[in-house]
């Protein structure tokens, strides 16, 4: 069963189209990564899921209920952490954590205190004195201490230090073990790579790719570093070779995944001494998608 189901959703602000007929689904028990550059529509999508914005067309369903109409019912089962957390300056972090938990309908004091210790937050300070990272901790603690079925996290670690980021990742993994679902929008691709089962890439209001990270890799290229016995000739004339660098017997190049077989066959006669292949990182995937799209734009 899909926890989140978005079909054909468009959102316009005046003349500007922020989302263009997007489809999206998050399965139960899955951590779903949502990546894209600034202004691509990540936060708009999330606000539609939260029932704060009303889509111009299509529908968004959470737990099978309509995100706009049944917002109150849905919100009893979700937890949300925004990327830019602003809090009331004259309340303390502890007060706000309690308020958020109460509003959500949970009351797990023990979990709350463990998390405060884990994230190393001083809950007695007024929020006006908190840095961005500390304000984010407040929202994260409130979210993780709440008992929700779906966690919507919108760039939740943008202000955290690496140590806290690791604790965040542990928390997400813990949730996942409990069979709960997470929608994680992020810029930090290593984080997405480590945590997420599936990923969607959004750009200028369009979802340009969805799938598991492995599936996405298949769509792209693999990087090879090869050392041969004899010097290789005319490799650049083969199909599917990119970024070829030849230094005597040392080669490095990228290959479209469908052409790996041909190229290996071509190389074997030259005597392969050493071969090293790396799958593209998510970052390379990401960059490649943008390059492709901006190339299309120029055409």
């Amino acid at each position: 069963m899909n926890v989140v189901e978005v079909k054909n959703v468009s959102k316009k602000f005046g003349k500007f189209t922020a989302l263009h007929k997007i489809d999206l689904s998050v399965k139960k028990g899955e951590v779903f990564g949502f990546i894209g550059p600034n202004g691509a529509g990540k936060s708009t999508t999330i606000r539609i899921l939260l029932g704060i914005l009303k889509p111009n067309s299509g529908y968004a369903k959470l737990f099978g209920m309509d995100a706009w109409k049944d917002a109150v019912e849905i919100h009893k089962r979700i937890s949300y952490v925004p990327g830019d957390v602003n809090l009331w300056p004259n309340l303390t972090g502890g007060e706000i954590i309690d308020l958020f938990m109460q509003l959500q309908g949970s009351n797990n004091k023990e979990k709350r205190d463990v998390l405060i210790q884990k994230f190393d937050l001083d809950p007695t300070k007024k929020c006006r004195t908190y840095s961005k990272g500390n304000r984010q901790k407040v929202a994260l603690i409130a979210a993780f201490a709440s008992d929700a079925d779906l966690y919507i996290l919108d760039e939740p670690t943008s202000g955290l230090d690496p140590l806290m980021e690791r604790i965040f990742q542990e928390c997400v993994e813990e949730i996942k073990e409990q069979g709960k679902s997470v929608l994680l929008s992020s810029h930090i691709l290593s984080e997405v790579e480590r945590l997420c089962d599936r990923v969607a890439i959004i750009r200028e209001g369009n979802i340009i790719e969805t799938g598991s990270i492995n599936q996405l890799r298949h769509l792209t290229q693999t990087i090879f570093k090869v050392e041969t016995v004899k010097e290789v000739r005319d490799l650049d004339k083969l199909d599917g070779i990119n970024d070829l660098l030849v230094e005597g017997k040392h080669l490095s190049f990228q290959v479209d995944n469908e052409n790996i077989e041909n190229i290996m066959a071509y190389l074997v006669p030259y005597g392969i001494k050493k071969i090293d292949s790396t799958p593209p990182t998510l970052e390379e995937l990401f960059m490649r998608h943008y390059e492709i799209s901006s190339d299309e734009k120029e055409v």
Partner: protein, 536 residues
């Protein structure tokens, strides 16, 4: 559907009270405290009915009507009538300001800062935030009504009875709630907090002017101003219900409209879209003065217009004073017989001191903007470039100084134009300007206090507003309610010669100027040597 839209409202109301408890207590103590101490002092100030009648006639003239509203019952000028005439309108304005600030803070500001988005991610209805704020304001305004009723009523002052006191409190409560609903409407139109409060304060200012003008010339039309509903209740005299009814109907309509508009619009948006700005910085922006000006441009021009209108309003009312006083035997006795000056001339000094106190508000605001910028951490970004703190300081300081000059000229021009439109050749422009310019050292003195505090104890700059309020209170109401004379000695405005009645005396002006320069230099030295502060 109803339940869904307002789900969680009760919880949010409790949360609002939790956030506001200190503010609320402060406002309650200030409002009720001032009202009680005033009302309590009346019997000792005016022991006989004759004295009260003289007071009534003093206050029952166009200038005073413009400032305080009309006298509800000139024939029976009891303590109650006297008290509500002197206090009600100004207190109502204060209550309106309180309501505007509270509503804007809980609605548009939370929305602008992204806190509402956070709240909305919980099981909370779409309209719960606005509804909880308005219900909170309703409760606060009812409490204001009850507290005034109980506190004033139980003083036991003759004619200040419980019935009248509850109507007095209600007059404050209904104006407060009306402005809460007006603000809730502004929230739907404007996209940010500044514009929202700006629009609401604009409506408040316009309401004051509208009722000032109509009270003098066409009292029936002043019903159009929500502020007039306060004194149209006529507490302690006729205790009328009609204004209460009108304000309730008006507020309910406006609130329904606001809720409806709120349900239509997207989060973070308003019905009046924001203008797009420049893509590149203009040349003037890239200098400390240019930056200081650009940040406060709108406020700067708005205040110039406000000063002009202020001058116009004063000019139009105080020309009648002479005629009025001549017709009135009782009052004629109040004027020194041997005076070679007309009464109008004697009023000029008072008017100019009030104009100057008014002008000090923006002058301080423009300077204190520097501290606001520092608090928010934006100054850090500037100083980290090759721009010294002093240069930045002089940018903001210059705006204040330039404004002093423009404000004097503009307000005098307004006064002159409207005075001469009513009564040709009644006043000389040069004389008016001189009468105004002599007040500049007292404005610069308060400005220099500001400089000093920014340098030495920036967290205490809020004290300046209290001090300015004190100056206004003592100068404007001091004579009228016969405050002890020493209270005036603590304001720089009292030392200024009142032209044309008094001669220009150089001494006080020189001393005030030297003090101004001294405090300014001291402040700059402190400012240069102190650390930048953030999140303070």
């Amino acid at each position: 559907m109803f339940k869904k839209n307002f789900y969680g409202t009760c919880r949010l109301i409790r949360f609002n009270f939790r956030k506001d408890r200190l503010h609320i207590i402060f406002w309650f103590i200030a409002l009720v405290g001032i009202a009680v101490s005033y009302a309590y002092s009346y019997p000792s100030m005016f022991s006989s009915e004759a004295e009260r009648l003289i007071m009534a006639q003093t206050l029952n003239n166009p200038a005073m009507t413009a400032m305080l509203g009309p006298v509800s019952d000139p024939n029976n000028y009891s303590y109650g009538v006297l008290f509500s005439h002197e206090m009600l309108l100004f207190t109502a304005v204060a209550v309106a300001i309180m309501n505007i600030l509270f509503v804007a803070r809980h609605t548009r500001m939370d929305e602008e800062e992204g806190r509402l988005e956070m709240i909305r991610s919980f099981p909370v209805g779409r309209l719960s935030s606005l509804a909880s704020t308005l219900i909170e304001m309703l409760i606060i305004n009812i409490l204001i009504t009850l507290l005034h009723g109980i506190a004033l009523g139980s003083l036991g002052v003759e004619s200040i009875n419980f019935r009248g006191s509850f109507f007095y409190g209600a007059a404050l409560g209904i104006v407060g709630f009306t402005f809460a609903s007006i603000t809730s409407f502004c929230v739907q139109l404007m996209e940010n907090n500044r514009h929202t409060t700006g629009m609401a304060f604009g409506i408040l200012g316009f309401s004051f002017l509208l009722r000032a003008i109509t009270d003098i010339n066409a009292p029936k039309l002043s019903w159009l101003s929500p502020l007039s509903w306060s004194y149209k209740i006529e507490p302690y005299a006729h205790n009328k219900f009609l204004p209460i009814l009108i304000s309730i109907v008006f507020s309910l309509l406006l609130i329904s409209l606001s809720l409806y508009l709120n349900s239509l619009r997207d989060l973070g948006k308003g019905f009046i879209p924001q203008k797009k700005g420049r893509a590149y910085a203009s040349k003037t922006l890239v200098s400390p003065l240019g930056l200081a000006f650009r940040l406060q441009r709108t406020g700067f021009f708005t205040w110039i217009i406000v000063m002009f209108i202020f001058g116009l309003t004063f000019g139009s009312v105080f020309v009648d004073i002479d005629a009025f006083f001549k017709e009135n035997d009782v009052l004629a006795r109040l004027i020194p017989q041997d005076s070679e000056y007309k009464l109008t001339d004697q009023f000029i000094g008072l008017l100019m001191s009030i104009v100057s106190i008014m002008a000090t508000i923006p002058v301080l605001m423009f300077l204190l903007k520097l501290w606001q910028e520092e608090k928010s951490g934006r100054i850090e970004a500037l100083v980290s470039k090759s721009l010294s703190k002093q240069k930045l300081f002089f940018g903001f300081f210059s705006i204040s100084i330039i404004f002093i000059a423009i404000a004097s000229f503009v307000s005098v021009l307004g006064l002159y134009l409207s005075a001469n439109a009513v009564l040709p050749d009644s006043l000389e422009f040069g004389m008016l300007l001189k009468a105004n310019l002599v007040f500049i050292p007292s404005i610069t003195l308060i400005l220099s206090f500001g400089v000093f505090l920014i340098g030495y104890l920036p967290k205490l700059t809020g004290v300046l507003w209290g001090y300015l309020g004190y100056c206004f209170f003592v100068i404007f109401l001091g004579d009228m309610i016969q405050l002890p004379g020493w209270m005036k000695k603590f304001t720089p405005f009292d030392y200024i010669p009142k032209i044309p009645v008094e001669e220009i005396k150089a001494m006080p002006l020189v001393i005030l100027s030297i003090l101004s320069i001294g405090f300014t230099i001291l402040g700059i030295l402190c400012y240069r040597n102190r650390n930048l502060q953030q999140n303070a």
